[in-house]
Amino acid sequence: MSIWEYSNPKKFMDWTAPVVPWTFGLAALACGAGLVWGFFLTPEADKFGSTVKIIYLHVPAALMAINAWFMMLVASLIWVIRRHHVSALAARAAAPVGMVMTVIALVTGAIWGMPTWGTYWVWDPRLTSFMILFLFYLGYIALWEAIEDPDTAADLTSVLCVVGSVFAILSRYAVRFWNQGLHQGTSVPVATGGRTVSDVYFVPLVLCMVGFGLLFLALVLLRTRTEIRARRIRALTARAHRA
């Protein structure tokens, strides 16, 4: 008995079937509570006025945009090394979700930038990095769509994901060299433990982060299940054609 047993497609379908609705429920609960709390019950910040409320959307979305790519990287590596089909399909399932998160982070950031910085868009390193991340998602999804043979598609997108990760990190530091930023530093530096957000804003923010994370998990599980079924349909119709 090892952890890899859960990646057997049949087993994966079995154990995720009851998990998916629960994850969706918990995600809705956490997101709902966090957003309602953040929107209705937090005071305005001195410097930002009511725009501080956008943080409950922007920060969790940005967090999940990066984590989604990281999850795809891990899933791709698992596919390359251990050849578990579910892993490749999970990477495929996560990409559109990650892209939507990137778009949310970009849109809310742009809207927040207008009253705060006086412009919707600046070529600030963080903003630019997210734009680049969006392009990588686009290319990754397009490559999946373009290749017909599923195993070839899984292999090629995995390589693209690994190479893309290296170039994404490279671009992130390259744009820093190219332009100094307007964007404030991270408000919740996990590594150092010190944070610049007071508890009034922090608790609902954490709730939203957990909610977005759960929502991502639920969507990935649901979409992976769909991909497994689609793969099965493909196999069955191919068999019917041959017979």
Partner: protein
């Protein structure tokens, strides 16, 4: 409804945009899931 002051438009549009985007990805995922599930059941029943 909390008092949003002069920035109301910005806060409300960002909430609206986010909810629309999230609803879109959830809706699309659920719809495709249902459709694929139905197709698979039809095929397996023969």
């Amino acid at each position: 409804m909390p008092e949003l002051g002069e920035y109301a438009v910005y806060v409300l549009t960002s909430y609206a945009a986010t909810l629309v985007l999230l609803a879109a990805i959830v809706g699309l995922s659920v719809r495709r899931s249902r459709r694929v599930k139905r197709t698979l059941q039809e095929i397996e029943r023969g």
